[in-house]
Amino acid sequence: MTDNVIEFRKATKLYAGVPAINEVDFQLRRGEIHALVGENGAGKSTLSKALAGVVTLTSGQLLINGAEVAPKTPLEARHLGVAMVFQENSLVPTMTVAQNLFLGQERFYNRLRGIYIAAQQFLQSLNFDVPPTATVSLLGAAKKQMVEIARAVLHQAQVIIFDEPTASLTPEEKAYFFDLVRDLKKRGVSIIFISHALEEALLLADRITVLRDGKHVVTDDVANFDRARIVQAMVGRDLSNTLYGKRKTEVRRAGERILSVQNLKMAPMVKNNSLSVFAGQITGVFGLVGAGRTETFKIVAGVLKRDFFHGGEILLNGKPVRYRVPAPAVQAGVAYVTEDRKVEGFFETMSIARNIYLGLLSKFPGGRFLLSSNEAQKTGDDWISRLKVRAISPKAKVVELSGGNQQKVVIAKSLTQEPDLIIFDEPTRGVDVGAIVEIHELINRLADEGKAVVVISSYLPEILALSDRILVSRQGKVVEEFSALDATEEKIMYAAIH
């Protein structure tokens, strides 16, 4: 029994009567890397939050080192030796690395020089190449993660939980991160690793647990798993072939040139970027984090502004345009579906129907000074059924939906505006597997209808599965173009890195 550092017995957590996890049994052995996988809403985050003291269990037991505990705050969990590295960075951005490391442990007289020296020695002992005097906001994603990990180790955590640690990392950074995790394991730290990326789980973990709909499905050694079996366990049905596996055998032909970007500049993210987008096909844009893809298309949609001098040209249907705000871009038929739907996407206090209706209102305000609840209802119902949004009713609030359904609402809001150019930025980020398929079908349908579709994605299988034409972006500009017929993962990645 003492082999297990952590043990959950019939752990249940209800949110307003709805179980997020339901009688889950889970064991974490000492010194193992244990991957926790499942669709969005499967209960991975809730389980780990219960462990980290962010939420408390409604019923069931949590045992740490064989003793029953119930941490109520992250601080209590930390004293029990559990640390969580959150999806959202929990560092204080304006403080230095050293200040962040010792945050909450300062002496009454907080001598900066002292903590810099202590931090320097500590970081060196971990072999982390982070300067302790650097301000955190200036660090890259990988370095921030290192600081988080260092902090967990400093707190003498026996168990470290990583929630989607690799989402914002480039491939090199990922490799480095994996080495860090393995190193932690050698030090006897037990690790829970939550990830959407199954390859990573297979690569890194000793054991894998699959959750589905708040229930425990299977736990097994990694050697007994392969991609297909995990996906099967996650969704309870075989999706691996229809989702990313299939390769394109024919591509749509390019229609009219809808968008042409020439020498676009926005320091420091976009440098002399030039590209074209054509009607009736899907243009996939691949690049690593920091390649300037999102920024380029945000400038096109008026969300960001290009450089005032020598900013380059954007031609929409052959006419030069320069949008300072998104509203005129929307009027001109450009829709941008954001990568961060919580910040830029939906209106959380409003119903699904209202969210969608607002899209219609802002594109076609004429004659709609007075709101029509009939029209709102009809628009809502119409799009809910067209995009198969799963909700109790159109009056349900968007914030209560799962990630996939939220994404569908955000897409519907843009589609009511009848755009000619639709830019999907990471359309399936944080979306469950079932919804991914439906969103991909929708994107294909839009291209078949003759719209110009842009899909920005950091996930190669998604780019390959969707695109007719693939643009590879690197350091602020498009560097290579492939037809989907002769693109391979290797070729694209090669272009994106070098």
Binding site: A16, V325, P326, A327, K342, V343, E344, E348, Y357, F369
Partner: protein, 323 residues
């Protein structure tokens, strides 16, 4: 298990009912028709200001300069009439001033992107200073014969209902219609709910924000007309009083979250009723001004604490960064 969640407006309404019942039972002279009318009349100005504030707060802003808009343009009317200009011309000039003031506020907040708190704090001081320094001859701008007829707005009655109450009701209806039934209202809620999302959706955010502050200034000016007509003068020192805190109290107490996108006219009415009952009851009990402030402060704290107990914030809302 499934305890019904009460919203803040229900809690506040319950407090109002309890307080009202207690006053009616134990306070002689409270539950009379005459006192009820006085009560409503006294809070009408506060309620109108609350509506102006609500319009801005729902759009995730705040307008500290409302009292300047209340004091200066109506004061200008009295001053101009005193100086011999005609009443309609004076009113037109005052409305133009309020309009220009709202435009400046809106431009600063929407286009120059100054945080609303600082922008309106500064413009409010500016307008009040301008009024006191160069427009008005005395701190209290006096009534003059040319104003004849205007006092009906504050002292008249229609079918036995005092006009300030009718004015409050009228503004309530206009603001409620605007917020609930027009495209503008939908945009205001959208901007308050998620300003970035509203922008990306293609809502003309900046013109709408300007419109909010223009309407707030105009409604504030209207409240000033009602006030001036009730007391037959415009005490411009009202700018230095704590009235603006009472207005914020009404809005927050009524349940319009300062983080925007929530609440409506009903919340303002409930907040106004509670504050009005409290002030009226305390006046009858002859509690001193400082004592009244003490009690107001405690009530606001109690309401806010009750709300956070009844509706605990989860991680989702915590990330939204409430003000």
């Amino acid at each position: 298990m499934t305890l019904k969640r009460f919203s803040q407006q229900e809690v506040v309404f319950a407090i109002f009912v309890v307080l009202f019942a207690a006053f009616a039972l134990f306070l002689p002279g409270f539950a009379t028709t005459q006192n009820m009318l006085t009560l409503l009349q006294n809070v009408a100005v506060l309620g109108i200001l609350g509506l102006a504030m609500a319009l801005v707060v729902i759009g995730r802003g705040i307008d500290i300069s409302l009292i300047a808009a209340l004091a200066v343009p109506p004061g200008l009317v009295l001053q101009m009439v005193q100086d011999g200009y005609s009443l309609p011309l004076s009113i037109a000039v005052a409305l133009a001033l309020a309009l220009a003031f709202g435009l400046v506020n809106g431009w600063l907040i929407a286009y120059a992107e100054v945080p609303s708190l600082f922008a309106t704090l500064a413009t409010g001081l500016l307008l009040a200073g301008l009024g006191q320094a160069s427009l008005f001859k005395l701190d209290v701008v006096q009534w003059s014969d040319g104003m004849k007829g205007f006092e009906h707005l504050g002292q008249g009655s229609v079918l036995g209902i005092p006009t300030p109450i009718i004015a409050f009701a009228a503004v309530c209806i206009v603001v409620a219609l605007l917020l609930r039934n027009t495209r503008i209202g939908a945009y205001v809620y959208a901007i308050g709910d998620n300003p970035y999302g509203a922008r990306v959706t293609g809502i003309p955010s900046r013109p709408i924000i300007v419109l909010q502050y223009v309407l707030a200034a105009l409604i504030g000016c209207f409240a000033g007309f009602v006030l001036a007509a009730s007391v037959n003068s415009m005490p411009t020192r009202i700018f230095n009083s704590t009235l603006i805190y009472d207005v914020i109290l009404v809005v927050v107490l009524g349940g319009i979250g300062l983080s925007g996108g929530r609440g409506g006219v009903l919340n303002v009415i409930i907040g106004t009723l509670l504050i009005g009952t409290m002030l009226n009851g305390m006046t009858i009990m002859d509690i001193s001004y400082s004592g009244q402030n003490l009690i107001k402060g405690m009530v606001l704290l109690a309401a806010v604490i009750a709300d956070s107990f009844l509706n605990p914030r989860n991680e989702e809302t915590a990330q939204q960064g409430d003000i």
